[in-house]
């Protein structure tokens, strides 16, 4: 693992990289085979981690829980399609999409020997809406009005209103299946139906799982004999661990030191553009943001490409104020570009009856890494359009309670949601608590309700394209960029042609999907 950083070394490494990329397609097509032990250095670990999936919020537990020990009903495959995990198939029971019938996989057992059945589904779902439960998936499960066992391996869920994306929502990492009647035990010891059963779990330190013999995913996934996850929250330590070969893969590399990793021929950097996006939401019911012309002026006074280049160092993609990302099914590729154009911005200001504009923009790196720098870049480019942005640097502590949703214009981030309706109903629907722009548009709201019920894909695309156009042209949030998930792995590992882009590390399923080359 020795390498030097001299010019010759870099050239040699570069040559090796070219060579590696030439043989890479063959490697990718190589048949996966069983064997090997995967060691992952993962950030996002906390001493508060447990097997209660309702509380999970960061990568370490996403990978350990949904990605290794537990299963959901449905799964978003690496290519973005929805496939069954513990549900074998599902179908709408009505034209409005408010009844969903799930046929469960047969012959699945939990790690303690209990058979998986419909009662487990019902009890696991009820966990999220139980009295006093603090579940991040409550808004999903709350939509269900009745749950019925309609067959030995069938569950019928009736929703309060139609929701075409409901099966996709059930792939959420919070909604994993626990054994009925022993949920407490399962949350304490980690008893699921996943490919790996818990050997050791030390919150905030380490997780070791061993491959279950005879699993329903045999032949499709689960190639490693074991998965070991080591909690490394420090970015430099993660990189060192990968460079010295103590782990095979790490998440979230520090883009500042990316060149060091690139110089090493034994390491592959893999990145995907998902739905994660950084935003500057403004309250559209407060002056001056209540004037659509002011919003348009602001949309044209930001240089989006510069943001991607300087804040994300190229690891991202320009967004035209669209909260729907490339990982969504109905992402609108053909939105009219919002270019940096001071003259256009001045024109819209004039339309609003102004010659110049003075506004405060509250930012803190709690919103996203580089938020303050991004606000200052914005300030510099907006000046040419006679817009004076006063960047107010806020404290990181209490940012989400005191600044976001409170100050007229602030910085924010969203990790994105797997369905369009879910993104919109979280932050853009009329009256929801996280509507951070107080967005209130009659046509948008009408389309939102239409799209939710629509099970026809073509009609859905039409509806969501119109909604994305509306929000891009008139909406109150500036979304300059989608931020990539940038991870790195040893070339000893191999993976399929597609990489999941819903979360980091192949949608947190590296342990299931990857294998030893």
């Amino acid at each position: 693992m020795k390498y030097d950083i001299s010019r010759r070394g870099a050239l040699k490494a570069g040559g090796a990289l070219v060579a590696a990329s030439a043989i890479a397609p063959q490697l990718l097509q190589a048949q996966p085979s069983r064997g090997g032990d995967l060691r992952v250095g993962a950030g996002g670990a906390n001493t508060s981690d447990s097997w209660d999936a309702r509380t999970h919020s960061d990568l370490f537990m996403q990978m350990a829980c949904m990605g290794s020990v537990f299963d959901c009903l449905t799964e978003i495959a690496a290519d973005g399609t929805l496939v069954g995990e513990l549900a074998e198939s599902w179908e709408p029971g009505s034209a409005e999409g408010d009844v969903w019938i799930f046929n469960l996989r047969q012959g699945v057992t939990f790690h303690n020997g209990k058979d998986f059945g419909p009662e487990d589904v019902i009890e696991s779902l009820q966990l999220h809406v139980a009295e006093g439960a603090k579940s991040a998936a409550k808004p999903i499960v709350e939509q269900i009005s009745t749950m019925e066992i309609t067959g030995p391996n069938q569950v019928t869920l009736t929703l309060k209103g139609g929701n075409a994306g409901f099966p996709t929502m059930l792939a959420d990492y919070h909604i994993v299946m626990y054994p009925a009647g022993m949920v407490e035990d399962a949350m304490l010891n980690g008893i699921g139906t996943g490919l790996f059963k818990v050997e050791t779990f030390d919150p905030g330190v380490r997780f070791l799982g061993s491959r279950v013999e005879g699993h329903y995913k045999d032949g499709r996934a689960g190639w490693f004999n074991s998965i070991e996850m080591i909690a490394i929250n420090d970015g430099t330590a993660r990189m060192n661990a990968l460079l010295t070969g103590q782990v095979d893969a790490i998440n979230r590399i520090d883009v500042k030191t990316e060149s060091l990793l690139k110089a090493n021929p034994n390491i592959e950097i893999f990145e995907v553009t998902g739905n994660q996006h950084f935003t500057f939401p403004m309250l559209t019911n407060i002056a001056p943001f209540d004037d659509v012309n002011v919003r348009k002026a602001l949309k044209h006074s930001i240089d989006r490409q510069e943001m991607v280049d300087k804040i994300l160092r190229g690891h991202g993609r320009v967004s035209y104020d669209n909260p729907i990302g490339p990982a969504n099914t109905y992402f609108h590729e053909g939105l009219e570009p919002l270019t940096y154009d001071p003259d256009k911005a001045k024109f819209y200001l004039k339309q609003a009856g102004m010659d110049s504009l003075d506004v405060d923009l509250s930012a803190s790196d709690a919103a996203f890494v580089g938020a303050v720098d991004a606000a200052q870049l914005y300030q510099a480019t907006a000046k040419a359009a006679n817009i004076n942005i006063n960047v107010v640097q806020e404290a990181a502590d209490g940012y989400w309670s005191n600044v976001w949703l409170k100050k007229p214009w602030s910085a924010c981030y969203w990790s994105g949601r797997s369905t369009e309706d879910w993104t919109f109903s979280t932050a853009y629907e009329l009256g929801v608590p996280w509507n951070d722009t107080h967005w209130n548009n009659a046509r948008f709201q009408e389309l939102l309700l239409l799209g939710r019920k629509e099970i026809d894909p073509d009609k859905s695309r039409e509806i969501y394209n119109e909604m994305q156009t509306l929000i891009s042209q008139e909406g109150g949030t500036i979304v300059p960029m989608y931020a990539n998930y940038v991870d790195a792995a040893s070339t000893k590992l191999a993976h399929g042609p597609d990489l999941g882009n819903v979360y980091q590390m192949d949608t947190a399923r590296i342990g299931e999907r990857w294998w030893m080359a």
Partner: protein
């Protein structure tokens, strides 16, 4: 002999008193931290109602004096309380689950404390003999090139920030020459030698940091005595220079050396925060950082208390050893 016990007893009482004052300081300063556990854990979802409900659950709404007394009362009975981070979410459908022991602060701290002690032990085993030896040699060849070289190298290592030393060691001993692992994740079930291998780099980093202080004190204490008449006598009777130092100078200069060693041993326990984070060593320092991040107050307080207690304890030990090594203090007039 009884006077020694009197002195020791007095020191212990003073130590306990100090610890009490420290507990007050810890509680006050932890409570002055901006933001609280409820806000930290909820992040973007920190709506006023959610924050209020978690505060209610954890008793954060009580008066600070009441909370301090509850906490102190618990500690006196050996109960460090329940970790917020584990307790809050071990909830199942509104009713509290029978916790599997992970939630109590003591249970979370115990394995981490063991690891930190192991690291401190390894570092002490390397650094104490090394620095005393270097100190003696530096005194023996004082003002020579050897003396200067040792002084410069130890002083520059103590003056560098810990993380910098750590990265230098990683670069040379893990990346360029893979001798030791850069990742020190020790865990239950490893053999002693595996653990030792993993602990080597953090232990070496700590050694570099504490050596200068001990070595300089050894050197200074010995050189200080070298001008005394009894040393001159020894020299006149023809004793070899090294023997003079070991047989005549060292025993008389033990008191200050022991004092400095004890102080540095305390540093090996309390100063490990940065080193543990850089090497991902699962000790108290790392737990401390993780807990501060989520405002897990009971753990933060317990960590502070452990740091304070080990400092006080080792100082106490230093005092006692000084008294024992100095007959004049042993028999006060």
């Amino acid at each position: 002999m009884s006077s020694i016990f009197g002195i020791i007893l007095r020191r212990i009482v003073l130590g306990v008193l100090t610890l009490f004052v420290v507990s007050l300081l810890i509680f006050a300063s932890v409570n002055m931290l901006p933001g609280d556990f409820a806000q930290a854990i909820l992040g973007q979802g920190a709506t006023p109602e959610a924050v209020e409900s978690i505060r209610e659950d954890l008793g954060l709404n009580k008066h600070p004096v009441q909370r301090y007394l509850d906490w102190l009362g618990g500690i006196i009975q050996g109960d460090f309380g329940v970790s917020f981070a584990q307790a809050n979410f071990a909830e199942y459908g509104g009713t509290s689950v029978e916790l599997g022991g992970i939630a109590s602060v003591a249970d979370q701290l115990a394995p981490r404390f063991k690891n930190t002690m192991f690291l401190a032990g390894v570092s002490a085993a390397i650094s104490v003999p090394l620095s005393v030896m270097l100190g003696i040699l530096a005194a023996l060849y004082s003002n020579s090139v050897f003396d200067r070289a040792i002084n410069i190298s130890t002083l520059s290592s103590i003056s560098s920030p810990e993380f910098f030393l750590a990265y230098i060691l990683i670069l040379f001993l893990a990346v360029l020459n893979p001798i030791f692992p850069s990742l020190s994740n020790v865990y239950e079930g490893m053999t002693f030698w595996e653990k030792l291998d993993r602990t080597m780099l953090p232990a070496l980093t700590l050694t570099l940091i504490v050596t200068a202080h001990m070595m300089r004190m050894t050197r200074a204490a010995i050189i200080n005595l070298m001008a005394s008449p009894y040393i001159e006598m020894a020299r006149l009777k023809g004793t070899a220079p090294l023997m003079i130092i070991i047989r005549h100078a060292l025993p008389n200069s033990l008191a200050p050396i022991i004092n400095v060693i004890a102080l540095n041993l305390a540093y090996l326990i309390t100063g490990v925060v940065v080193v543990e984070v850089v090497f991902v060593y699962p000790g108290i320092g790392q737990l401390f950082v993780d807990s501060v991040k989520v405002r897990d107050i009971p753990i933060v307080q317990a960590c502070c208390l452990i740091f304070a207690a080990s400092y006080i304890l080792l100082n106490l030990l230093a005092d006692i050893m000084t008294i024992l090594s100095n007959p004049r203090l042993r028999h006060p007039k």
